[in-house]
Symmetry: C2
Subunit: 721 residues, 2 copies
């Protein structure tokens, strides 16, 4: 390992821990210090050479103010539980399912104007003359209805407890500490207050170098139930941005009138897995434009004060849309985000229009990880190894940690592990000089969201596995460290501009009818024709799960013709299915004989003798390839993350692209290992993603290969000259 | 065992095997003798006391006739393979995928009038001016099309080789034996010929007692591919009933014009798993009315000749619809069908409007079962045991076998086994005197077909397991021998007449979007309200697989409110799923701790704390129960047949019905055993469905129980007095 470059590391600290912090900071070569939730930096840092970050919460922590303007508390549209009417009248305790310390019905605005009672069985809105509200009991009584139908109430509620503060409060048992009420910067008093408070704070904090916004104005959707437990979480949710004023402003700007159902969405609340409605797309656009303009006001104040503005990717980040068209307008200097794995690393480091990006690594220095029963160095190491592949692909200017340093300091093995990690991090920079590694192919991930949700597809709550999505999330994770350029493309992009000229492979995955698979858009002949042409003329298509799935014109997979497989959803049982023989010695499965398909799709079968079946079990196909003109289609049933699956996907992508000869351009034949080439600095590295020592053959190109022995999790650098 | 009653058994025989037949017939107490495909009875049977059955094929075996009227050969609409156009013109070898010895394009009728070229990508029919046919090469060239779209040709073809004869011919390698061409009784010459030939044949066969029609006029759909292998089989298919004349007659009768697409159905050919279109329902009605009228002409001739008319349930049975409204009109004396299992037994013996029903048991006396490497007595025994449960439920007047008796005679162990089976069969009659057993509950199986497809749901090819349906077929099989009355109900029945007053339990099962689950009908509020009311007022609902599934108004299971579970199809990942705890000691799972869910549905979760989760694994529910008003909903993910699963279903049905106290009305606590009560004859029996000896406690009612030891597969009778 060459000499580490100093810096690039942010260390948390707290009051009365100054000397100890300096000691650890020296060990980690930290050049910046930060506060955390509930900590304050020792004043002596003012005179220290380290950069000072300070967390800043624009829309909470000022109950004095918001108590005077409760009408400016953010709101949400909530749907009651579904209630079956047993007679022609039904009474619905509409707020019953929700945590009343978080959510309170909004009776300020006329329910008859803003709320909706739905007959969900008939799919119709009930005329407001048929219902009345009992404010004392939070019930609605609906009359003259059809018995045995099911009814819901969609109502506006104030979110009187900031969800993140609520979460910390409840998790850490903060007792009678007052609940922080958030405020909505769209409202006049709040807007004025937020700006004035920013100015005041800047004047009070000359020592601060970096204002770490945590975050701006709208919290992602986080709704608790009557047991004070999480009921609904959507890390991308716009649920808490709504208000009668926002709806009115939207209508003024677009001419479109929104109703409760635009937010409630049958109870699905516009989950990003839903194919977004036109209204929801417009709404995202509208809110994010507003957020960017208002965030810019704060950032301009920060800049005017000679400080840097950094945004935390999380919490009140809704509407910032870092991959959207208004983000650059905010004028941020930096972004910081929590590193959960390779995918979340890319979610941070691929963000454009900032000067630097910082990863906040795990574990957070909290007692849940730092206690006598746990060795936090294990999680630290795993977290680093998961992120490292992604950092090698896309860079990351800085790293850091968060929480109570005084707690972490009690774990010397952990402190040592982070010393190694930070050294390794800087060493990467020393070798790469912030240049990009070689990419052999360009892959476009195709879904309803496209670029707006770059690296965000299949996330429900940030970096938390979900039974319904881990099978696809594994693909994101595999891609995050693969030696290909990854881009995100929407169906609308194709319909508007065609398939990008530089695309080697299109990748479409997800469950039938979701935004990621695509849903009804696959009935659009222009889309299917464009992909047919692309692949037939030599492009690659990789489909995972239910790619191109919609029940239309005799097919379930609308790209069956190029995938060579179809899924039996019940309509083709009368057809004999003869093709079951597995093609041995195929490029894709070379060296791989263990498979894990996750929540695998049932009943995929070959429709064509040209289909190369690569894995067949339980009477169905889980992996196959198929020629189509000059191109190839590859089908996989699912791909949870593992090193072996990442390798499988890599080989599948190269095969689909017709680029099997390019795979030796930076390759290790041991699936635990990956090779990155940095042509500009004439360097390459080999990483061992496994904790075990391994042997592998390293290929730098078609003619150069050599054997390497790597210790567990090692990274080794070499020269390309 | 009491003294067996003689008779009730039909034995096959053949020429030059008279004495040997009499010997075996005496052993089996057979009282009827039959010919089989390719055999003729010895003339001496004329003078024997045994009844003589003779197979009769009305629409094949007369190539001399049909060669003169080739325009009267039956037809089918076939769809070409799908072809992607790479430019604005495409040529499609439309017949290429099919077996040209079976199917030949019909150029007699103008292709421009009857055929269709489809742009399947755009979902539109191409104007016939854009295409031309090359009859010499069986190709169609389509011009001025959108490149990269996919095209199909739907064309009429003559079925020049009778599919069943073709199957036997190819399977038994009959070489240059002429192919039997079928003829269509709708056509004038064929109609005249069929009647004349029937008269001639009757005059020639005074010795015959029973004319065994094999069958009437229209073969179920059986289409072979270019490799002379089965391509498509639908035991219920109307594919081979079509002709321009049939379409014209249909239009005359209904005013509705049919097109190729009414038959091709996007390439699904109106599989019974498809929700039937209005046109297809009308077409079934129209054809079956015609078939019943024409079959009656033959049956009347048979009766006029003093003979009985028996129909084989299979082969050319299409349009007879034994559970339809025209079947009684035919005036048949008897029905005979192949016994594959309990379900197919019920499919035969539940047929109304005939005097007696005969089961033809397996194995068929053909060399595939009767060879030196196989012990056919094993299959015989298994077949009997599978059928016996159903026979005890519903009766079966006669049984028999088919094939070459001379071959079977070489297997003395087999002959002995059948001796035991026939004795046991007659013994059942001795005890039951053809009375009905006690039923404790009434179960209605709810789907798009209702009564018309009684016991036929989930069959693709008769008694042949199918990966896509065995998970539901197992439910039919379990019901076939259960001590409940089973009825079949369509959604249309409920919408027209409500839920029958005598219903205890509704059962809905199948995959999303199929005719068995129901598809879009679940958006009909009248249907959902009727079932809500039924269950809330005390009824039971059992849902299996994707019951009530359609993506509508925030739910996938439209009866979620009564099932207490929902399936995650991708839209509710943001909701926390807290309910995972299994309810122990539940009535449904009592005594059952091994589960097999078949092609299980992924992602079913509880939405309600009242849901009793009965099996939870892989992070999902496979079995649960839920109260709803006075009634109960039960959910199961799938239920392939096993004795244990049959028991599980039985307990689930009793639980759903709120009739747990009635389960001791004829019950054995060993799941391998079942008890039938015959109150009219004061008899009961216990059967052991397993080949192993077992011990069980037998319950005759809530207060009477006793221990029983049963040999493998034993049946034991006792008195209820």
């Amino acid at each position: 390992m060459t000499q580490p470059v100093k810096g690039r590391v942010t260390i948390p600290s707290e009051n009365n821990f100054y000397e100890e912090t300096l000691k650890i900071a020296a060990q980690w070569h930290a050049d910046a210090v930060r506060d955390s939730d509930g900590t304050h930096l020792d004043p002596r840092f003012k005179d220290n050479h380290m950069k000072i970050y300070n967390a800043y919460f624009p829309v909470r922590g000022h109950n004095d103010f918001i108590s005077q303007h409760r009408e400016e508390i953010p709101e949400a549209y909530l749907m009651s539980e579904r209630v079956v009417a047993t007679e022609a009248t039904v009474t619905i305790a509409f707020a019953e399912a929700y945590f009343d310390q978080q959510l309170q019905p909004d009776y300020r605005h006329d329910p008859k104007e803003y709320w909706q009672v739905y007959d969900r069985t008939a799919g119709v809105v009930i005329d407001p003359v048929q219902w009345s509200v009992d404010q004392a009991h939070n019930t609605i009584t609906v009359t003259d209805i059809t018995p045995w139908h099911e009814f819901t109430v969609s109502f506006l509620a104030y979110c009187i407890w900031d969800p993140v503060e609520m979460y910390n409060h409840l998790t850490n048992d903060w007792g009678d500490k007052p609940h922080e009420m958030p405020f909505d910067v769209l409202q006049p008093h709040s807007h004025e207050f937020v700006l004035a408070e920013m100015k005041r704070w800047l004047a009070d904090h000359p020592e601060v170098d970096v204002v770490r916004f945590t975050t701006f104005f709208y919290q992602f959707t986080l709704i608790f139930n009557k047991h004070a437990k999480e009921k609904y979480v959507d890390w991308f949710g716009y649920g808490l941005t709504v208000s009668p004023r926002m709806m009115a402003e939207f209508e003024k700007a677009t001419g479109e009138k929104l109703t409760a159902e635009d937010f409630v969405d049958e109870g699905y609340y516009n989950s990003p897995f839903r194919v977004p409605s036109d209204h929801f797309r417009q709404y995202i656009d509208f809110v994010s434009q507003f957020v960017s303009e208002t965030a810019k006001e704060l950032v301009d104040l920060v800049h005017a004060d000679g400080k840097e503005a950094m945004m935390f990717l999380g919490d009140h980040w809704i509407g910032t849309e870092p991959y959207g068209k208004y983000f650059s307008h905010i004028g941020l200097d930096a972004i910081v985000g929590s590193v959960g794995d390779g995918t979340t690393t890319r979610m941070i480091v691929d963000i454009p229009h900032v000067r630097y990006r910082e990863g906040r690594f795990l574990p957070y220095f909290f007692p849940d990880s730092f206690n006598e029963h746990n060795d936090p160095s294990i999680e630290a190491k795993q977290n680093w190894i998961q992120a490292r592949r992604a950092i090698l692909r896309a860079g990351m200017e800085r790293m850091g940690y968060g929480g109570y340093l005084s707690l972490a300091a009690k774990f010397p093995k952990f402190v040592d592990t982070v010393t190694q990690i930070t050294d390794e991090f800087r060493d990467i920079h020393a070798h790469t000089q912030d240049t990009k590694p070689q990419s052999n192919l360009r892959v476009y991930v195709l879904n309803q969201w496209g670029k707006l949700r770059s690296w965000q597809a299949f996330t429900v709550a940030h970096a938390i596995p979900n039974k319904g999505s881990y099978t696809y999330y594994g693909v994101m994770e595999a891609l995050s460290g693969m030696n290909v350029d990854v881009h995100f493309l929407s169906f609308q992009d194709i319909l508007k501009n065609g398939i990008p000229n530089d695309a080697d492979v299109l990748l479409n995955m997800g469950d039938e009818g979701t935004a990621y698979s695509g849903g009804d858009v696959w009935q659009n002949p222009q889309l299917v024709a464009a992909i047919n042409a692309f692949v037939h003329q030599g492009g690659g298509f990789v489909g995972i799960g239910d790619p191109s799935a919609v029940r239309y014109q005799g097919q379930f997979f609308q790209l069956k013709q190029l995938l060579g497989v179809e899924r039996e959803v019940g309509y083709t049982l009368s057809y004999d299915k003869y093709f079951t023989e597995v093609t041995k010695d195929h490029f894709i499965t070379q060296g791989i004989d263990q498979f894990n398909w996750g929540e695998s799709k049932l009943g995929v079968y070959s429709t064509d003798e040209a289909t190369q079946i690569l894995e067949y079990s339980n009477g169905e196909i889980h992996l196959s390839a198929h020629p189509f003109g000059q191109g190839q289609g590859v089908y996989m049933t699912g791909l949870p993350f593992s090193f072996l699956n990442a390798r499988l996907l890599m080989r599948a992508i190269y095969y689909a692209a017709g680029a099997t000869d390019r795979i030796t351009q930076g390759y290790a034949d041991n699936p635990a290992c990956e090779v990155s080439l940095f042509p500009e600095t004439h360097q390459y590295c080999v990483i061992n993603n496994s904790a075990e020592a391994v042997d592998t053959t390293v290929y730098l190109n078609a003619t150069s290969k050599h054997a390497v022995h790597l210790a567990g999790n090692a990274i080794e650098w070499g020269s390309l000259k």
